[in-house]
Amino acid sequence: MNEMNITSAQYVVDFEGRNTSINTTIDGITMSVPLDTANRHYAEIMRQVEAGTLVIQPADQPETP
């Protein structure tokens, strides 16, 4: 897998405030990425975080339905 161009990353939380996924833009495509190490997008996000080239922003508080 080539290095992905990740231009934004922000956690999403559930109603209990737990991180459940990451909203991100990868190679120009907006997507939701699960917190699963077997997911190639998540693996690459974490590789770039560990390399110090990407920071995942904390989540906004969820809307209460």
Partner: protein, 325 residues
């Protein structure tokens, strides 16, 4: 003492050292005289069957009769193409990415290449033979656990060349622990009928039913939608300006998939009684390998806590769930 029998001055049998040899007749004549027919011949330890059929005999192959091909979507003249790629070398955006199902293309390098990863759960130790149709193609293989940049198939280190019809051996300390990457370069448009199977002799390309091949692909990627103007995606409830729902994937996927929209966000519409609302941004999804939660925001106000359903209203828009290697 050696001896012989002659018929009309022609030697028919010769005896020497307790061995009796038929003379002056070729093997075909001998087989005919003995009533053996011509279907099977044996030379040393190789038996050649040239016709007829075998009935009432149990055959025990060393490799499977079916599902021999570890490559998925290898019939590139009639491929599974959920992403709608224009060709196997045309990603949806940029010069790299998945094109036809299971096939990743990288056109950003001096030598563009194509690869497919065979999932670790299907990679046992053993000897494999690779075959394909098409001229001007080079192939290589390697195994690795990692798919991230610089560690997986984009890193040329560790790839070993293999010829068409050639073999290679996987021998890992822990079986089923690494993905097997098959990489091609050259005249990629010619590539077709790709097959990687256990054994040492390439067999004819295995045509699996189209539905079976699609199901195999959907373990890695699913495109939901594209079937008319009312594709139900999820059921749930509304808040003032959002929909919260849940949906099922059509197959259990390899891993929790990433979600993205192919098409137009506003084609995601949810309906609560008589009030309809359309997405004003890409939905947010939290998925596991079997199902997903989805949040769709809208600028249209709806009743709070009312039952609602979410649909894709235009066949040009699809929900992509991606669990590729």
């Amino acid at each position: 003492m050696a001896g012989e029998i002659q018929v009309n001055s022609v030697t028919a049998l010769t005896e020497s050292g307790s061995n009796i040899v038929l003379n002056n007749v070729d093997s075909a004549t001998n087989r005919t005289n003995l009533g053996l027919g011509s279907m099977a011949t044996q030379n040393a330890n190789a038996v050649a069957l040239t016709g007829g059929s075998i009935t009432g005999t149990t055959l025990v192959p060393t490799t499977p009769f079916s599902f021999r091909n570890r490559i998925i979507n290898g019939n590139l003249s009639n491929p599974i193409n959920q992403r709608g790629a224009a060709s196997i070398t045309t990603p949806s955006s940029g010069s790299t990415g998945y094109t036809y199902d299971r096939w990743y293309y990288d056109g950003s390098t001096a030598t563009p290449y194509l690869y497919q990863g065979i999932e670790d759960k299907n990679v046992n130790n053993g000897t494999y033979v690779i075959s394909w149709e098409g001229s001007g193609i080079n192939a290589a293989w390697k195994v690795s656990t990692d798919t991230t940049a610089g560690n997986g198939p984009d890193d040329t280190t560790g790839f070993l060349s293999v010829s068409n019809g050639g073999t290679f051996t996987v021998n890992e300390g822990t079986e089923y622990s690494k993905h097997l990457w098959i990489r091609f370069d050259g005249t990629l448009a010619n590539l077709n009928k790709v097959m990687v199977e256990e054994g040492t002799v390439a067999t004819p390309f295995e045509h699996r039913p189209y539905g079976t091949e699609l199901a195999l692909c959907q373990r890695f990627f699913q495109a939901l939608g594209g079937s008319g103007t009312n594709y139900p995606l999820a059921s749930g409830f509304t808040s003032t300006n959002a929909f919260y729902g849940q949906g099922k994937l059509s197959k259990t996927m390899r891993a929790s998939p990433s979600f993205s929209v192919s098409g137009t966000n506003s084609h995601f519409g949810y309906t609560q009684v008589s009030v309809g609302a359309n997405a004003n941004a890409t939905p947010t999804v939290t998925a596991n390998p079997e199902s997903f939660l989805i949040i769709v925001t809208s600028s249209t106000s709806t009743t709070v806590n009312a039952a609602a359903y979410l649909r894709i209203e235009d066949p040009a828009t699809k929900a992509f769930f991606d669990a590729e290697l």
